[in-house]
């Protein structure tokens, strides 16, 4: 059903008039032009489409856009806010925690949400928290180290 939805996107009030059963991933990528959020599998297996809705990591490929009505959505484009880079983004860069980069936005968004809940995570907790995010290039161990580094920095200064 076509309707007008309001929500906050990367800190800005946003209005879209769309068929509200459409999936958030495609509304973000096409209607709103935010292509940092990726399609990887379309069935919630890989996590490339992860965005934050009201502080929770969600798979936008399985989320009807109507579910974000009046909520706050953050995508990779809005993660850093006013700063140049969020500590998680910076840590991924410094640890070379990426290769092709296609899974990276989803990885970072999930790591961000994970760190909000686990400010001082153990390696086992990171593995469990990131387990359903797939990377084919094999950057896993570096991603774990990047998340540890980001945790330290966020704990220290944020």
């Amino acid at each position: 059903m076509e309707e007008t939805l309001r929500f906050k996107l990367n800190g800005k009030p946003t209005t879209v008039t769309v068929d509200s059963d459409r999936l958030l991933l495609w509304v973000l990528r096409t209607d709103l032009g935010l292509t940092g959020t990726k399609y990887g599998c379309g069935e919630s297996f890989c996590g490339a489409c992860t965005v934050i809705v009201d502080g929770e990591a969600v798979r936008s490929c399985q989320t009807p856009v109507k579910e974000v009505r009046d909520k706050e959505v953050v995508t990779i484009e809005g993660l850093a806010g006013e700063s140049a880079l969020h500590p998680v983004q910076k840590a991924f860069m410094e640890h070379d925690a990426l290769q092709c980069g296609y899974c990276t936005p989803g990885m970072i968004m999930n790591a961000y949400s994970f760190l909000r809940k686990h400010p001082k995570p153990s390696v086992a907790e990171i593995v469990e928290g990131m387990e359903d995010d797939l990377c084919r290039c094999g950057a896993h161990n570096r991603i774990i180290r990047a998340i540890q580094a980001a945790a330290t920095e966020m704990h220290g200064g944020h």
Partner: protein
């Protein structure tokens, strides 16, 4: 003959329409240096088995530009798919030319701006392209010094370069920047004479670890992939697909799909597609089409499944070709105390890059522009030109960042589909395969069989080796152990199968052929070591005279803390060796096997590599880690399920790729060999992964696995057999 004129002959000169003036016209003012890859021998050996151009370029296939803004650009048809050449190639250029790396631009994979290149595969960018790039940069530096000499009235021998400027050694205030030298100029040079490049001791940027130059764009979501290209009026296409390979469309009722607001249904022969300005709406409209497909006519292939495929392949195999031999097998057999005969199998494996195949095509009049996720933009250009009936010069392929390739994106059916639909619809069209389509139309790593018959003498020496490989390809089959009597035979020597061999497309998969060959060879060597009752590291060393291979193995054993023991020792340790893309690898792994479930947990993997000169040690280590991680997949879980042309694994729910919890501790070591030419980095460390885990499982529980992947049921079955 000049070494840079390897291809030059009149016929090729005439046939290849490379238009240098076109590049110069579009590229503005500056100093241009044209060069080409020196040694084509790599390329003919290790290409993906397709995408050959009509002709090979005879004059140049890359160039440098020193612009009047002081920026230096390298224009190359190579592409960046995660392997990191956007960093390592820039390092080579910056170092040889003495400019800051931040002032280097890599212009890659654009067929209008970059000269022809066959494609990015075979770990060739550093070892084949790199030396030429360095030479070209060194020559450009020489040109700049000559120009500065004239301008500054200082003899060239007194001039030196640093940070994008030429200066007088005796009076460092007398200087001029590259930018000033290039200003208003249009200078064209060709690399013809051999040029002296820097010695490793002179490197300032090369051989120093550098983080990825594209990381910032990738962590902020700015990096664009083909699917991120959005054009005014562009439509997303979703295509009706058959339920199985070979199934033909009988009828399609598109009435309901046509009712969807804004949807356009295109029918052209068997092609049925829905186009819409939103991809998800196109997809849901497509699902409203009622289609009937016929069952494909029965063939030997339609009854084949993932269990019976190996019998089928052995029956379908063409005549064998002996690729290497020495000594006399009969004599070798007579010297043998025991003869060991085994057959090794490996399943079809998907490339499964996180970015599915995607392309955008825009046709304006008689010109087409293509944005494609491809490892071979020039191959894609030819295919699009053919589809549209355009001369190749009227098709431009632009390659944005590629979200993983692993060989799979040397094939690009999606590009042709997008071109066809753009022509039929009159609109710019994006075709982005769904994950399901990706798993259906991939060019899989072929299922393969290796048969080995070998013997050992009473004193524990390998007496003969008779090796036959079916359908994997020859890469990695040549023997590097010293065995007096040996023969290597390839049946269907390419990873692209003979007609009627495979139920779906197969192709090059990271280190093609070598994963299958190394699994078989290194497992079999281990079987012989166990039979002889000799420690597997010691047994290998006894049969090696290649100093490089001995050194990587000895280093690996030392770094791992290997203590000699005959297998099975119960410790769960395995070793395997391999050579790929010129690089030598020794891998040692430690595993734990759950005797109840057959589950294998890899705890530690250590790999040592001799890859010659290392341009970016950080990038090389990452590639090794990536190889080891990806290798866990085909070793332990990845194997396609299918029946005839019907695919059972169409997403990551059933096709499992490595995930965080699988990761062992990974240690990588690269031997110092800076005076040898650089070798491949993106593939070698994956080839040993099947055997190193199989050998570690044997060492843990005394069960020998002969088939990949080593899923828990197979491990349990092997344990029962003892």
């Amino acid at each position: 003959m000049n070494e840079y004129q390897y291809w030059a002959n009149d016929a090729e000169e005439a046939a290849f329409p490379m238009d240098r003036r076109r590049f110069l016209k579009t590229s503005g003012t500056g100093i241009f240096l044209f060069f080409k890859i020196r040694d084509i021998s790599f390329i003919t050996q290790e290409g993906p088995g397709r995408v050959l151009p009509q002709t090979l370029p005879s004059d140049f296939n890359a160039y440098l530009k020193i612009g009047e803004d002081g920026r230096v650009a390298c224009y190359t048809g190579k592409i960046e798919m995660g392997q990191g050449i956007v960093t390592s190639l820039a390092q080579m250029l910056a170092d040889e030319l003495d400019v800051h790396i931040d002032n280097v631009d890599m212009v890659m994979g654009d067929t209008d701006l970059c000269p022809w290149d066959r494609g990015t595969f075979g770990s060739l960018s550093t070892r084949a392209f790199g030396p030429s790039l360095r030479t070209a940069a060194a020559e450009a530096r020489r040109v700049l010094i000559d120009m500065a000499s004239e301008r500054l009235k200082v003899p060239a021998k007194d001039l030196a370069t640093e940070g994008g400027a030429v200066f007088d050694r005796t009076d460092t205030k007398t200087r001029t920047s590259y930018a000033a030298l290039a200003k208003g100029k249009k200078i064209e040079r060709h690399l013809t004479d051999p040029v002296v490049v820097k010695k490793p001791s002179e490197f300032k940027i090369m051989s120093k670890p550098l983080t990825r130059r594209d990381a910032r764009d990738k962590v902020t979501g700015k990096a664009q992939y083909a699917g991120d290209i959005q054009l005014p009026g562009m439509l997303y296409a979703k295509i009706l697909r058959p339920p199985a390979h070979g199934a033909k469309l009988i009828e399609a009722d598109t009435a309901e799909a046509e009712k969807v607001k804004g949807a356009r249904v295109i029918r052209d022969g068997e092609l049925v597609a829905v186009l819409h300005k939103y991809p998800d709406v196109a997809q849901s409209a497509l699902s409203k089409i009622k289609a009937k497909f016929g069952t494909p006519p029965p063939t030997p292939l339609s009854a084949v499944d993932d269990r019976t495929i190996y019998d089928h392949l052995l029956k379908a195999a063409p005549a064998g070709k002996v690729v290497a031999s020495g000594g006399d097998l009969t004599a070798g057999e007579k010297e043998s105390g025991s003869v060991l005969e085994q057959t090794y199998f490996n399943a079809y494996v998907a490339h499964a890059p996180m970015e599915p195949h995607t392309a955008v095509v825009k046709i304006e009049g008689k010109h087409a522009t293509v944005w494609a996720s491809t490892q071979a933009p020039f191959g894609a250009r030819e295919e699009v030109a053919k589809e549209l009936g355009f001369p190749v010069g009227d098709v431009r392929v632009i390659t944005p960042f590629v979200g993983g390739g692993f060989g799979g994106k040397t094939a690009h059916g999606q590009v042709v589909e997008a071109a066809r639909l753009a022509r039929l619809s009159g609109a710019p069209v994006q075709v982005a395969w769904t994950r399901k389509e990706e798993f259906f139309y991939d060019t899989f790593r072929p299922a393969a069989v290796v048969k080995i018959r070998s013997g050992i003498t009473g004193s524990g020496s390998i007496s003969f080796w008779d090796y036959s490989v079916y359908f994997a390809g020859e890469r990695g089959a040549p023997l590097f152990y010293d065995i007096p009597h040996h023969r290597t035979t390839a049946y269907n020597s390419s990873w692209v199968g003979a007609e009627g061999a495979h139920p779906f497309a197969t192709g090059a998969w990271r280190a093609p052929g070598n994963n299958s060959n190394s699994f078989a060879r290194e497992s079999h060597i281990d079987i012989m070591a166990a039979k002889a009752g000799i420690d597997p590291v010691e047994f290998r060393l006894r049969h090696l005279s290649d100093a490089k291979m001995k050194r990587v193995l000895q280093t690996a054993a030392e770094k791992f803390g290997w203590k000699p023991a005959k297998s099975p020792s119960g410790r769960g340790l395995g070793v395997a060796l391999g050579i790929d893309a010129g690089t030598y690898v020794a891998t040692i792994a430690g595993v734990e096997v759950n005797k109840g479930t057959g589950e294998v947990r890899v705890k530690r993997v250590l790999a040592v590599q001799d890859m010659g000169l290392v341009v970016n040690p950080a990038g090389a280590a990452i590639q090794m880690e990536g190889c080891i991680t990806m290798g866990l997949g085909y070793a332990l879980r990845e194997g396609l399920h299918f029946k005839g042309g019907e695919m059972s694994d169409l997403n990551f729910g059933t096709y499992e790729i490595p995930r965080f919890s699988w990761l062992p501790k990974i240690e990588t070591h690269i031997l110092d060999d800076e005076n040898s030419p650089p070798q491949g980095g993106g593939e070698p460390a994956i080839v040993t992964m099947g055997a190193v885990i199989a050998n570690a499982i044997y060492d843990a529980v005394g069960a020998r696995l002969f088939e990949l992947p080593m899923i828990p049921d197979r491990v349990k079955e092997a344990m029962h057999k003892g």
